[in-house]
């Protein structure tokens, strides 16, 4: 009985996804088209990245609420750096800038032992302010038209019918998945999130592992910044709002990653995002007024987490 419940808890998200998928396939003939699937992926590009790094953070027992702010600052930094150094150095600078901000957050939080939730919340204000400074209060634009066009075509041109940005995002997700499941760092992340004291006493440098998680979040945010700069040729101070962060955390939890740390996997965060995408896509196709969509999504998230709690209680004894 417990084993059954445990499996329901563990793979419930797959079931929910399948039910949604089948229902929508029957209810709406246009759902099962390649174009619709490509659209869903396209809309989820950035959330895939955020969900992947958020999964790692949550497994390690921390939250990084600053990723949208870092991504915004990175978008602006990418445009500036392209204007200063050219395309390739510019893109690289954008990525490294995200990593640098993650490193600063991580060092500050682990050195002071501030709660990650509060610490990254404070960091996100700071980095939003930094973005304002870097954009000189407004919008920055890639000056060289040729560079803007070629970077845009990397992101927007389709390969096998799917946009370049989606391929980049999926590649990043796979890399993060491998990092978590196949490397020593990944093992450390699970151990630190599962029992930090035990990990420390087993000789793991727990602070460094946590800093590593913040840096990874920063790299993901940097990538999101680069994609924004490529798509729009600009860096705007409102490139990514904080709803991205909360959606990523919600998706990770709905996907079945324990909010208490120590267990989960990257595919779960991705399933969470896909489920959200399916829900809003389905509501659109079924002609549900967009006014109600957020409300319905919120209720579904709550139900998913409440069910998770209920299963936990049952399987613990």
């Amino acid at each position: 009985m417990h084993a059954v419940l445990e499996r329901v808890r563990s793979y419930g998200i797959v079931g929910v996804f399948a039910i949604l998928f089948i229902t929508l396939s029957i209810a709406s003939p246009s759902f099962l088209s390649f174009q619709n699937a490509a659209n869903i992926l396209d809309q989820s590009t950035i959330l895939f990245i955020f969900a992947a790094t958020t999964t790692v953070a949550v497994i390690a027992g921390i939250f990084d609420l600053s990723i949208a702010a870092v991504a915004t600052a990175s978008a602006i930094m990418t445009v500036n750096a392209i204007n200063w150094f050219g395309m390739f150095p510019g893109v690289l600078t954008g990525l490294l800038f995200g990593a640098l901000l993650g490193l600063i957050t991580g060092l500050a939080i682990t050195a002071t032992n501030v709660n990650s939730f509060i610490g990254t919340l404070a960091a996100s204000f700071t980095y939003r302010g930094l973005g304002l400074v870097l954009a000189a209060g407004g919008l920055v634009t890639i000056a060289d038209k040729d560079v803007a066009v070629s970077l845009n075509s990397v992101m927007e041109d389709k390969i096998l019918g799917i946009k370049g940005a989606v391929w980049i995002s999926l590649a990043f997700v796979i890399l993060v998945g491998l990092l978590l499941s196949k490397t020593v760092f990944g093992k450390w992340v699970y151990a630190v999130g599962g029992n930090r004291e035990a990990a420390y006493l087993a000789g793991i440098r727990t602070q460094r592992v946590l800093v590593g998680c913040y840096v990874l979040s920063g790299i993901g945010a940097g990538l999101a910044g680069v994609i924004y700069a490529g798509r729009y040729g600009t860096g705007a101070t409102n490139a990514y709002n904080d709803t991205f962060v909360f959606t990523a955390i919600a998706a990770v939890v709905v996907g079945g990653v324990s909010i208490f740390g120590g267990s989960g996997a990257v595919w779960r965060g991705i399933m969470g995002i896909l489920t959200f995408a399916l829900i809003s896509n389905g509501l659109n196709l079924l002609g549900v007024d967009t006014t109600y969509q957020l409300t319905i999504l919120g209720l579904l998230i709550f139900i998913a987490v409440a069910a998770d709690q209920a299963f936990r209680r049952t399987t613990r004894t």
């Binding site: 196949k182 020593v184 760092f185 093992k187 420390y200 006493l201 000789g203 267990s263």
Partner: protein
């Protein structure tokens, strides 16, 4: 005193936890309006018995008679309503609330939805009249010293009409003058008509404060006597009992083997003061003493988990003094921590991941782990420490206590240290697993390791160790070699006896 009616009577109380029989057939009577002492070694069953009285645990069999009525409390809440209140070892107050709010917490007099301040103050004054405690009712509890916080707890118990107040080691966390205040408090509440059951390791305290005293050993009641007829020595010999015939096969050996671990002047305020000792290859040295005496803190300092104020640690003659567990491991020191669930295992992770937690870097190539190599290594280690499991991929949390402990030993085997420190490895494991753990320790010592063994069970320490150091208040109180005099060792637990006599 003998004329007072009984407040509580226990008849043939039995309480087991799994295979461990914590309380075996205990019968005793506690007279009203008195202080009743309960003493015994760590693990003798004192706290368990008291928790049965208070309704925290329910007895497997036997009866509790409270003021002439048979009761069976199913929860602390029922115990409180029945008139038995237990003060926990740690203070349970709301720090930001005032003294009177804390006392009346749960039964705050109300007028509508608002607290009735006047009724509250009246209730408080009644309790002051009873106890003669002088506290500012409006003071925040967080601003009080611990002895005064205990007064708040006592008044809370009395406000719930407690007839029997159980205090488990109330003076353990107090400074000397706070202990004096606590003792005054206890006398006042007894004058006020209540009864106190006092569990304490401080035998002088028990002798000066109690009217009667009960001695427990291995879950059994040794005797109940008038405190006037007891002395520290008579209490200690009662606590040790007849198990003196236990067979100690050891000779002090390894005297000619090289010193592997050397500790000089280890100090970490306030828990550890000027601790020095050596451990030779092949030796198992016991760190014995009461819980809270500083044994664990010494171990954590050697392992680099806590920083030193001063002192030096040498392994094979070389100064190492590690600043982190990682550094300690790389210098050949490994520690199996005291609490396997809180400090040892990642319960949600697999057996394989737990076994290889400290050695995963060595099992990987270029940072990439091979799950096959992890599994193979884990299986080999599991076999070495005789771990019983159905699947190497099951979670560590699903194993029994003894098997969980074996995982930690397996981890130690793989790290292959020169010095192994084990802290309370057999707490809560069954007899068979305990033997297995002793065997593993002996095996590792035979391979030339220096082993430091910490346990609260005196029989176990004397049975396993080649040499025993008794820790008292952060210092090495005494050193013993076989054949052991168990009474002398136990006396040293309580700060009596030889400055490192052999």
């Amino acid at each position: 005193m003998t004329a007072s009616p009984l407040v509580l009577e226990a008849r043939n109380v039995v309480k087991s936890f799994g295979a461990t029989r914590a309380v075996r057939d205990v019968s005793l009577s506690i007279p009203g309006q008195s202080v009743f002492g309960l003493v015994g070694e760590n693990g003798a069953g004192k706290s368990t018995l008291a928790k049965v009285f208070a309704g925290v645990h329910s007895a497997d069999s036997g009866e509790i008679v409270l003021a002439g009525e048979v009761v069976s409390f199913k929860s602390p809440h029922e115990g409180i309503r029945g008139g038995v209140s237990m003060m926990a070892q740690e203070i349970m107050l709301v720090p930001d609330a005032t003294v009177e709010e804390n006392i009346l917490l749960g039964s705050i007099p109300r007028r509508g939805i608002f607290p009735n301040r006047r009724a509250m103050r009246r209730r408080y004054q009644e309790l002051v009249a009873l106890t003669q405690f002088d506290l500012d009712p409006q003071a925040k509890v967080s601003s009080l010293r611990i002895a005064d916080q205990q007064k708040v707890e006592i008044m809370r118990a009395l406000s719930q009409d407690a007839r029997l107040i159980i205090m488990d080691e109330p003076s353990a966390a107090l400074t000397a003058d706070e202990v004096v205040r606590l003792h005054e408090s206890i006398r006042k509440i007894v004058d006020g008509g209540a009864t106190v059951l006092l569990i304490s390791h401080f035998l002088e305290e028990v002798l000066s404060l109690t009217d009667q005293v009960a001695i427990m050993r291995d879950g059994e009641l040794v005797r109940v006597s008038d405190t006037k007829s007891e002395t520290v020595d008579s209490l200690v010999s009662g606590m040790v009992g007849r198990s003196l015939e236990t067979d100690y096969a050891h000779v002090a050996r390894a005297a000619d083997r090289p010193v592997r671990l050397s500790v000089h002047g280890l100090t970490r305020a306030p828990a550890v003061t000027d601790v020095s000792f050596d451990v030779r290859a092949g030796e198992i040295v016991g760190l014995a003493g009461l819980i809270g005496s500083g044994r664990t803190e010494i171990a954590r300092c050697i392992f680099g988990a806590d920083r030193l104020n001063s002192g030096e640690i040498l392994v094979d003659g070389q100064a190492v003094t590690p600043r982190s567990p990682k550094a300690a491991i790389s210098r050949g020191i490994f520690m199996v921590p005291e609490s396997r669930k809180e400090q040892g295992l990642v319960l949600g992770s697999t057996i394989a991941d737990n076994l290889t937690l400290a050695s995963i870097t060595e099992l990987a190539r270029g940072g990439i782990t091979s799950s096959r190599r992890v599994r193979d290594t884990a299986r080999r280690l599991a076999e070495k420490v005789d771990l019983r499991f159905t699947s190497i991929a099951q979670s560590a949390g699903s194993l029994s206590g003894g098997n969980q402990q074996k995982i930690l030993f397996g981890r130690a085997v793989e790290v292959d240290p020169v010095v192994l420190i084990v802290d309370e490895p057999t707490r809560g494991v069954d007899i068979a697993a305990k033997r297995g753990i002793h065997g593993t320790l002996q095996q590792m010592a035979d391979q030339g390791l220096a082993v430091v063994f910490i346990s609260s069970e005196i029989d176990e320490v004397l049975g396993v160790c080649n040499r025993v150091l008794v820790v008292h208040r952060g210092r090495i109180q005494a050193e013993f070699e076989p054949p052991y005099n168990q009474e002398a060792v136990l006396a040293a637990f309580f700060g009596k006896g030889g400055a490192r006599s052999a």
